[in-house]
């Protein structure tokens, strides 16, 4: 089925391009008949909950001087969340951000956080489109291991 293949390709591209990692597959494997939209549910949960953290970090980055410890703590939490859905690129930015925090690098933190927010938004759009598409073409086995 052409559409399903396209959906599969779309999904595969996420892995190939490094947007998602193995953890996303763990979520897919949890999806079952009792929870047919589990992955989407969790991703939505993540975006909703992490929005608060994003906002907190944004605010904290406005302060002077920067409270690196607090920022690091926020980011630690954020990373715990983002890694749980397999948001690979976002995670990379999280790690970088934390390094800058530990180094006390104000510019580095701010720059990295902007990058993080971009990745965060991009992934959201991609996944949003993916789920929408999947819903449109009807249920079919989506959890397949990347090649």
């Amino acid at each position: 089925m052409e559409l399903h293949r396209q959906l599969a390709n779309l999904r595969q591209s996420f892995f190939d391009q490094g947007y998602l990692d193995e953890q996303f597959i763990q979520l897919e494997e949890l999806q079952d008949d009792a929870n047919p939209n589990f992955v989407e549910e969790v991703v939505t949960l993540f975006y909703k909950d992490s929005a608060r953290l994003i906002h907190s970090i944004d605010q904290a980055l406005e302060k002077q001087p920067l409270d690196f410890a607090k920022l690091d703590s926020y980011m630690h939490q954020f990373k715990g969340s983002s890694s749980s859905i397999g948001a690979k690129k976002v995670n990379t930015e999280c790690t970088q951000f934390r390094e800058y925090c530990r180094a006390g690098n104000v510019e580095g933190c701010k720059r990295t956080f902007q990058q993080l927010k971009r990745e965060y938004a991009v992934l959201r759009k991609k996944l949003e489109a993916y789920f929408q598409f999947a819903r449109q073409i009807g249920p079919i086995e989506m959890a397949s291991r990347p090649n």
Binding site: E41, V42, G80, K117
Partner: protein, 663 residues
């Protein structure tokens, strides 16, 4: 719990009752689903306080707890300690932080495992092993006279572990747990030689009230275990049970009455959670007399040395007398105890303070030696009669501690200087005036845990260990020196290690005296020793109905105060994080409604529902909407777009959008 092997292996681990605690709703949801997929019975909550109240409400309602390390309202390690002390459940820690230090901290705090986030389902599939291991360990302590056969039977019943180990995603943890298991087996074999293993006695509130009534009736000075037992008239209760409980009670009373502030804080901690450790310690009560004898074998020389060092500090009393932890393998004979109390006593007698601090030292002193102790105050004579019974209890304690020792040693080796020597510590409490060795010391661990400096030992003797740890790190050093003299126990090595480690760990302290500094610091941090005094005072005031004896009261106090002190002591940085994140959840009436009657009446499921409800209030509504139509997903995202700001505009899509796909 002796369960027929067929029953155990047929169903287990299906239905394993797991409590998962994580402040991150995404992780919590994922964990819940994973655990359900493992066919476990899952209860989730996102607050440590809620978790604790859940655990307290439903005693024996859970088999295992999984908790995140970083949580806004309470540090995960603190929760770990609480659970270990109060409920004695296996706790698995998890965190996105995989740095060696943090993992080590988990191990040293007594976590049964440490999972690195993101957690894979394979890692969760194996958690049942910790429950089995723990129960096995407990059963070992609770052994009856046929302990040997019972244990062997248990071993055969152990479910096959090999296959499951390999699938764990956390191989490091697997190795640790395997190692731990092997050590446990070794400890078990050693214990086979011991006798007098008695069934565990749980001092419930009612039982304790009966006890107190009996004691008052007889008069505190005249209350001897035998008579108390008769008055209580509780079937199945033995004189030894009463005796050990009595000694703890006396220690508690002693501490209440006119002890200096320093000591009272310490002592209160002792009594603060007397029952906290009861659960774990009581099985020890019936343990060998041998342990006591072993404890008593510390040469006077080492004792004197220790005491001299101890006496150097005004506050610390750690009388070296308590080396009970000595060689667990020794054939303990009660008569062989060679404590040279006269020498030590003279030193001890130098100040009342020291004597007071001696409370709770589980000493296995011979009656005659106890008689030699000259304590200015007290009804020491009365104590003598109890020494023997106490000795038995000490033995049990000692055995317990000795059992844990191997692990402690292991930890010591691995440790970066933290609390390693848990086991000996607990035993090495200062001699109480009455020379009663107490399981009480262990209890203080709970209180001190609040300070955040207590580490749960891996072994079951965590309660004891913590106690000692809290009291002073110096104790550690003592204990080791004591042990080294006598039995050539592992304490020997520990001692060297501990001292070094402790030195590095203790602020500005070096060597032996540094321990005392720590001790002083402990006192000085009284403001943080929340609830120590209150705990003591609550002991008489009321017995919390839902919790055994003082345990509940003190632990609750501790918890409450701990939380406030946690905020107080600078954990605030987590607090603000928690607030913004949970504003939604909090407003929707979160945690609190879940406690109390709801829990009781509805059981775990309802709790889970409610937990989910309050924490997931917002996302659930979003999810439901999604089921209705696609728009909600978009709208949810769009809302977030508003939060994110203009970021969107900077980015272009690369062709994998819906628009490009033919529908």
């Amino acid at each position: 719990m002796s369960v027929p092997s067929s029953t155990v292996s047929d169903q287990f681990p299906v239905g394993l009752r797991v409590l998962v605690v994580d402040d991150d709703p995404t992780c919590l949801r994922i964990l819940e689903k994973m655990l359900r997929n493992c066919h476990y019975q899952v209860t989730k909550c996102n607050r440590a306080e809620v978790a604790l109240s859940l655990l307290r409400e439903k005693k024996n309602g859970f088999d295992i707890v999984i908790s995140d390390v970083h949580m806004p309202d309470m540090d995960g390690f603190k929760l770990l300690e609480h659970i270990g002390l109060e409920m004695d459940l296996p706790v698995i820690m998890m965190s996105a932080d995989d740095s060696k230090d943090v993992v080590m901290k988990g191990v040293t705090h007594g976590a049964y495992d440490y999972l690195i986030k993101p957690v894979r389902i394979e890692a969760l599939k194996n958690i049942w092993q910790h429950v089995v291991r723990k129960k096995k360990h407990e059963r070992k302590d609770n052994n009856y006279d046929q302990s040997g056969s019972v244990e062997e039977g248990d071993r055969q019943q152990k479910p096959p572990e090999d296959a499951d180990y390999s699938s764990s995603a956390n191989e490091g943890n697997w190795r640790n747990s395997k190692k731990r298991k092997e050590e446990e087996e070794e400890a078990e074999e050693r214990d086979d030689t011991s006798t007098l293993k008695k069934p565990r006695v749980v001092w419930s509130v009612e039982l304790h009230q009966q006890f107190v009534q009996a004691v008052h009736q007889l008069g505190i000075d005249k209350a001897v275990p035998k008579k108390i037992l008769e008055l209580m008239n509780v079937p199945g209760l033995t004189r030894e049970n009463v005796a050990s409980h009595l000694q703890k009670y006396r220690l508690y009373l002693r501490r209440l009455s006119g002890v200096s502030q320093h000591q009272s804080s310490l002592n209160n901690s002792f009594m603060g959670c007397p029952d906290a450790t009861f659960g774990t310690i009581s099985p020890l009560n019936g343990l060998d007399l041998q342990a006591i004898a072993a404890a008593g074998q510390i040469p006077a020389q080492s004792l004197a040395t220790l005491q001299a060092a101890a006496l150097g500090r005004s506050a610390a009393t750690k009388s070296a007398i308590s080396m009970p932890l000595v060689d667990q393998r020794n054939l303990f004979s009660f008569e062989n105890s060679k404590l040279r109390f006269p020498e030590g006593q003279q030193q001890l007698n130098n100040s009342n303070k020291q004597i007071d601090l001696l409370h709770g030292i589980p000493t296995t002193m011979e009656p005659k030696q106890l008689a030699n102790l000259h304590h200015p105050s007290q009804s020491f004579v009365g104590m003598n009669t109890q020494v023997n019974s106490m000795a038995q209890h000490n033995n049990s304690l000692l055995m317990r501690m000795s059992q844990s020792q191997p692990r402690a040693q292991m930890l010591n080796g691995a440790n970066n200087g933290h609390q390693v020597s848990r086991l000996p510590l607990s035993m090495q409490q200062p001699l109480s005036p009455e020379g009663i060795p107490g399981t009480v010391p262990a209890q203080s661990g709970i209180v001190d845990n609040a300070r955040g400096s207590v580490y749960n030992p891996v072994s079951q003797a965590s309660s004891m260990v913590d106690f000692s740890l809290n009291q002073s790190k110096e104790l550690q050093s003592y204990n080791f020196s004591l042990g080294s003299n006598n039995s050539g126990m592992s304490t020997l090595t520990n001692r060297g290690m501990l001292q070094e480690e402790m030195n590095s760990d203790i602020k500005g302290s070096r060597g032996f005296p540094s321990n005392y500094d720590m001790f002083n610091e402990l006192h000085q941090q009284k403001s943080q020793n929340w609830g120590l005094q209150n705990v003591g005072s609550t002991f008489d005031a009321s017995h919390h109905p839902s919790i055994q004896g003082t345990q509940g009261v003190s632990s609750q106090l501790l918890l409450q105060q701990g939380i406030s002190s946690a905020h107080h002591s600078g954990q605030n940085r987590n607090a603000p994080i928690g607030k913004p994140m949970y504003s939604n959840a909090d407003e929707s009436g979160h945690v609190n409604p879940m406690g109390g009657p709801q829990l009781n009446s509805l059981g775990g499921n309802m709790l889970a529902v409610k937990a989910e409800r309050f924490s997931d209030l917002d996302y659930h509504s979003t999810i439901y909407h999604e089921q209705l139509g696609q728009e909600d997903l978009m709208s949810a995202f769009l809302k977030q777009q508003g939060n994110v700001g203009p970021v969107e505009t900077e980015f272009g899509f690369d062709g994998y959008t819906l628009d490009n796909l033919p529908v």
